[in-house]
């Protein structure tokens, strides 16, 4: 070991100490020291001291400090205030990312916003860092201009973060909030965002993980955003679009296209537009407005009806691909056949021509379409560059829609599109000729920013998007999501596709930082209520199940019943949970008491007049005349000449049929429990209330696996009291298998027929669409069967009603049960309370 000279200044002492600890730190410090001396010679010791403290606390923070110093010293022309700022950040445990981001950006912030602006930027970040180091890191490493928005000042930044102040010590939720805020800015207006964030703050206070999920825009967070967003909500008003498709296209539109799904479009993920795979439609949850929604859906349906995606339509133009080529690949290859590569520009020109062709046909089919479309095009902001030229060409083309001679109005280049026999091949040929000649629409405007496919595609009108079919993968993911958000598959579908974050916000990220994963768990599952996952038909042969009662099943494809196809087996529930029942009995005591009082108070008193009674309040005039006449005629009639207005006795039998498929085991959307718990409570409370009121009530459950394995569970029969044993059965309910609803309804109708009452109500509790293992993914099959089963029930004089927990039920239940015969309970927690209301409603409307 060599002898060293004793350090004689504090600076040398610190440097020596650093050298002993880390070669790199010493080297970095020495490298930055001249820059510090240059601006503030006396501060070198202070600077070294701060650096040492940072380095000893966290090596990464220290390193960032040394390396960032020359730039900051220059930018601030001194050591203040950034030295103190860096140090105060570094003193927060685990805040090395914040220090790193701060050191990298502080100079630029000062240059842009001045000293006061820099201080406000820092104060905001420090507050976040103190609350959560990870969120602080996210704040400081995000380019400040991205945070504030292009060209905006520090005020915009403060406004962006203001709603987060109410999040409290939210931990990682702050990071998620920041992500969401950046993602939603520009697509969601400030008011909506503030309301959404406020709701999220409430959720966060109630349950931390739920809140974090909320801000990651998963499940509840996304639903809430869709609910709050202005515009046309497909979830709420999708039926209108369906009705319009029916009215304008009818049978010309394939059935698959009328049963659309929700696409995985998210705010911030580009414009909301209809997508298709050439067979079905995918709609975003929210359109910017009703006009964009209606015209966008009609246009997309027009593509399907007028053969844009005919598999062989373009074979002559662009050759056919190899076997197994999907529609999306075929589309790409055809576009590439013109330019040699998948050029977004040619795609856009092709889209333009094909859109015009379809719009011309639609304008002939739908009166007023041309004018509406022209107005939409006028109102939509014009994009710049190449897309702007495309938009101009489109608007010019749309002007021809209602011309007397569209072909003349379109000009020679596009005239072939107006011919009645034009196909997608015509559009392709037009586009190719145009593209090869002039590269598409020409204009004086520069197209510096028009090179990539995305900018070129920006020419599309609101609600419309590129015509390329969705790739198969996206289809599958959306399919899984549509099948039900409750099961794990759908949860993955939510998280599998990374959220699109504006490029600017991601640019400043350090990949190494990402890998350290300081931002908390990312494997959260989307929670929700849905039906069973779709299972393809099992290839393995299966021994048919015998026994049980055979019921017919409606096959819409054959438009006929399959006699004896469904087999329903009456089963006993093995699970009993006496302890659970006692707990539930206790827990629901208050609710049950309230409910009984309410039922008694609201007891329907229909005072239907009973005519020709021997006694009563009023004379029955007709009967009295008949009586007098008969007496005069010398007969001896019975003096039944009164009208009685007595309340009719309660003579209603209710059969509660609960869907016990696997999906009820899912957690409730708010993450606060499982659906099955609410279901048990609801059954118990309802059966108890009816018992108290005196109406005969039976409770049944059903589940199914294959058409011959529909199980119909005895929970409580009409003549059985709700004793401890029955309560234990209800408390022991669990979810299993799938839900073949039609067969179960037929079985229940059979049982109701024998019910000891004149009015018979069938109340179905469901949490998803009818589905089974062997329906081959054909949603419509069991829908249609259930619809027919409902019709049979009605024909048998049984009033049926469905209460569902599936928020998407509005898309299929009206068709199955009819308007006014179902109710979507958006809040599972309210199931026990809501059931009696429904009961009263049914009693009023029940078939006499």
């Amino acid at each position: 070991m060599t002898d060293r000279a004793q350090p004689d200044t504090p600076e040398e002492e610190i440097l020596a100490q650093l050298e002993a600890v880390s070669y790199v730190a010493h080297r970095d410090a020495c490298a930055a020291l001249p820059a510090v001396r240059a601006v503030e010679a006396a501060g070198a010791a202070r600077w070294l001291e701060a650096g040492r403290e940072l380095f000893l606390r966290d090596r990464d923070a220290g390193r960032a400090f040394w390396r960032g110093t020359p730039a900051l010293a220059g930018a601030f022309a001194g050591l203040d205030p950034w030295l103190e700022q860096a140090l105060s950040l570094g003193r927060v445990r685990g805040a090395w990312r914040a220090v790193e981001g701060f050191m990298a950006q502080a100079g630029a912030v000062r240059a842009r916003w001045g000293g006061a602006g820099e201080r406000r930027w820092f104060d905001l970040g420090r507050r976040w860092t103190v609350r959560d180091a990870g969120a602080g890191g996210r704040y400081f490493e995000t380019p400040f201009e991205a945070l504030a928005g292009a060209g905006a000042g520090v005020e915009a930044l403060e406004a962006l973060l203001a709603p987060a102040e109410s999040l409290g010590e939210g931990g990682t939720a702050l990071g998620a909030y920041l992500d969401a805020a950046l993602r939603l800015r520009g697509t969601v207006d400030a008011g909506t965002f503030a309301r959404w964030a406020a709701r999220g703050a409430d959720v966060l206070r109630a349950a931390r993980t739920r809140g974090e999920r909320y801000f990651r825009l998963e499940g509840e967070g996304l639903d809430s955003l869709f609910e709050l967003m202005p515009g046309f909500s497909v979830r709420r008003r999708g039926r209108l679009l369906r009705l319009l498709l029916e009215a304008w296209f009818g049978a010309a539109l394939p059935e698959a296209a009328r049963a659309w799904r929700e696409s995985d479009w998210r705010p911030g993920g580009g414009a909301a537009a209809v997508e298709t795979d050439g067979r079905r439609l995918w709609l975003p949850a929210v359109f910017p407005d009703r006009e964009a929604a209606v015209l966008g859906v009609l246009h997309a349906a027009g593509h399907l009806v007028y053969g844009t995606y005919e598999p062989h339509a373009l074979a002559a133009e662009a050759g056919s691909g190899g076997p197994g080529e999907g529609p999306a690949e075929a589309w790409t290859r055809r576009c590439a056949s013109v330019t040699g590569e998948a050029d977004g520009r040619f795609r856009a020109v092709f889209d333009l021509c094909e859109d015009l062709r379809v719009d011309l046909r639609l304008a002939r089919r739908i009166p007023g379409y041309a004018k509406r479309l022209q107005r939409l095009a006028r109102a939509a902001p014009r994009p710049s560059g190449y897309a702007g030229r495309l938009r101009d060409a489109l608007c010019a083309g749309l002007g021809a829609l209602d011309a007397d001679h569209p072909a003349d109005a379109l000009g020679p280049r596009l005239a072939p599109l107006a011919a009645p026999e034009a196909t997608v091949a015509t559009a392709f040929a037009c586009a190719r000729a145009w593209f090869r000649e002039t590269g598409g629409p020409e204009g004086a405007e520069t197209d510096a920013d028009g090179a990539g496919p995305a900018p070129a595609a920006a020419f599309h009108l609101p609600g419309r998007g590129p015509n390329a079919p969705r790739p198969a993968g996206a289809v599958a993911a959306a399919h899984a999501a549509a099948a039900g958000a409750g099961d794990e598959g759908a949860g993955e579908a939510h998280t599998r596709r990374p959220a699109a974050v504006p490029a600017g916000a991601r640019a400043g990220r350090n990949p190494r930082v990402e890998s350290r994963g300081a931002m908390g768990g990312s494997g959260a599952r989307g929670a929700g209520v849905g039906s069973v996952a779709r299972v393809p038909p099992s290839p393995a042969p299966r021994a048919p199940r015998r026994g049980g009662r055979a019921y017919p099943e409606w096959d819409y494809r054959a438009q006929a019943y399959r006699e004896g196809w469904a087999r329903v087996h009456d089963c006993e529930l093995r699970e009993h949970d006496a302890a659970g029942a006692a707990r539930m009995w206790e827990a629901t005591a208050h609710l049950r008491r309230r409910l009984r009082r309410a039922l008694q108070r609201q007891r329907p008193v229909r005072r239907a007049p009973l005519r020709r009674r021997p006694d009563g309040e009023d004379l029955d005039l007709d009967a009295a005349v008949d009586y007098v006449v008969a007496r005069r005629a010398g007969l001896a009639p019975r003096p039944d000449v009164y009208v009685r207005r007595a309340a009719r006795g309660r003579d209603t039998a209710v059969l509660l049929l609960a869907d016990l498929s696997t999906s009820i085991m899912a957690t409730t959307p708010d993450g606060g429990g499982r659906v099955v718990d609410r279901l048990r409570a609801a059954l118990l409370v309802f059966a108890d209330a009816l018992e108290e009121v005196g109406d005969p009530c039976a409770v049944r459950g059903f589940a199914s696996k294959y058409h011959d394995g529909v199980e119909y569970y005895r929970i409580k029969a009409f003549d059985e009291p709700l004793d401890a044993d029955r309560r234990a059965r209800i408390a022991g309910l669990t979810g299993r298998l799938a839900s073949r609803m039609g067969a179960a309804i037929r079985r229940a109708v059979d049982e109701l027929r024998a019910a000891p009452a004149q009015r018979r109500l069938l109340l179905i509790l469901s949490d998803g669409r009818p589905a089974d293992y062997d329906d081959g993914g054909d949603l419509r099959y069991l829908h249609e069967d259930t619809r027919l089963a409902m019709k049979e029930a009605r024909d048998a004089g049984i009033h049926a009603f469905c209460v569902t927990l599936d928020p998407r039920a509005g898309t299929y239940l009206p068709a199955i049960f009819g308007v006014g015969h179902y109710l979507v309970l958006e809040d599972v927690d309210r199931l026990p309370q809501r059931l009696p209301e429904i009961y009263l409603r049914l009693r009023r409307g029940g078939a006499a």
Binding site: R237, R239, A247, P367, G368, R375, D626, R632, D795, G818
Partner: protein
């Protein structure tokens, strides 16, 4: 003079009266229904008119009664209509009782066409009363009087029913249905519907009638999608008459073809979209006549 007074006061006339002179009420044949009815009428066979609401059943019968020169007695059936309401009953008059014929009995005696509209709505005992009138016996028993009325040779029984909206529980019994000659009606085709609307609301420009009928037929497609009853020809005629009376076309369609049909907000919105497409500010008045179903 009497006609003028009737018009001022709201005139009252006997239920069984010969058709008024003049042209028969307008009816545009859709098929061979006139031939079928005339044949049935010659042989005095009872007739059943089947078809959806507002497709022209009643108008057809008015037309035929006029054409055949027979009185027409129409009874709109409802759920409280009893056999006594049809056949007749004893009434008190001073110290005596008098028998008062019901509309059916009068038609039977005086040789009119008795039209029981929406027969399924009536109580089931009424259908029993008409049985002896519908076969070779052609007689009406008056139980309370212990008498039987033999039908006048010109008497003919006609019932109508709409197979759509009543439940199976309320349907006519097959034994009742079998006693009738049935004529099935449906909404006329587009050309006929245009002619009907043009006739009923004369003076409207052809373009307006074209659009009106196109909109109505378009809306008809929403039946079975929540719309219980499809847009009827009668609704189109009403809309046309409202337009004739000076109402703006879109408002007339709303009043006659949208709101009477449904209370469901989404359905109303969809129907209004259809009306606006044809009559809204964007509708091109000179648009070519839209084809019914352009080939896809």
């Amino acid at each position: 003079m009497k006609k003028l007074l009737d018009r001022v006061r709201g005139g009252e006339r006997d239920a069984v009266a010969a058709p008024e002179p003049g042209a028969a009420p307008f009816y545009l044949p859709q098929g061979n229904e006139i031939a079928v009815f005339e044949a049935a009428s010659r042989r005095r066979l009872p007739v059943m008119l089947k078809g959806p609401t507002g497709c022209g059943k009643t108008r057809f019968l008015e037309h035929m009664a006029h054409r055949l020169g027979r009185p027409l007695v129409t009874v709109a059936c409802h759920e409280d209509l009893t056999a006594a309401d049809l056949v007749g009953r004893f009434l008190l008059e001073g110290d005596a009782t008098v028998w008062q014929d019901g509309p059916l009995t009068r038609a039977v005696r005086e040789g009119a066409i008795c039209y029981l509209d929406e027969i399924v709505e009536a109580r089931t005992d009424t259908t029993v009363v008409i049985h002896p009138l519908t076969d070779h016996r052609r007689r009406l028993p008056l139980d309370r009087k212990s008498r039987v009325v033999e039908a006048h040779e010109d008497f003919q029984l006609v019932i109508s029913y709409n197979p759509g909206y009543q439940t199976v529980l309320k349907d006519l019994k097959p034994s009742t249905k079998q006693r009738f000659v049935a004529i099935a009606f449906d909404y006329p085709d587009a050309a006929a519907e245009r002619a009907i609307v043009a006739q009923e609301a004369g003076g409207l420009p052809a373009g307006v009638i074209d659009s009106l009928v196109a909109a109505g037929r378009r809306a008809r497609r929403l039946k079975d999608h929540g719309l219980e009853e499809a847009t009827s020809t009668r609704a189109m005629v009403y809309a046309a008459q409202l337009m004739q009376a000076g109402l703006a076309p879109a408002a007339a369609c709303r009043a006659a073809m949208v709101h009477p049909l449904t209370d469901d907000p989404e359905l109303v919105a969809a129907l209004e979209e259809i009306v606006d497409a044809h009559f809204g500010p964007d509708a091109a008045p000179a648009a070519p006549r839209p084809a019914d179903d352009p080939p896809a």
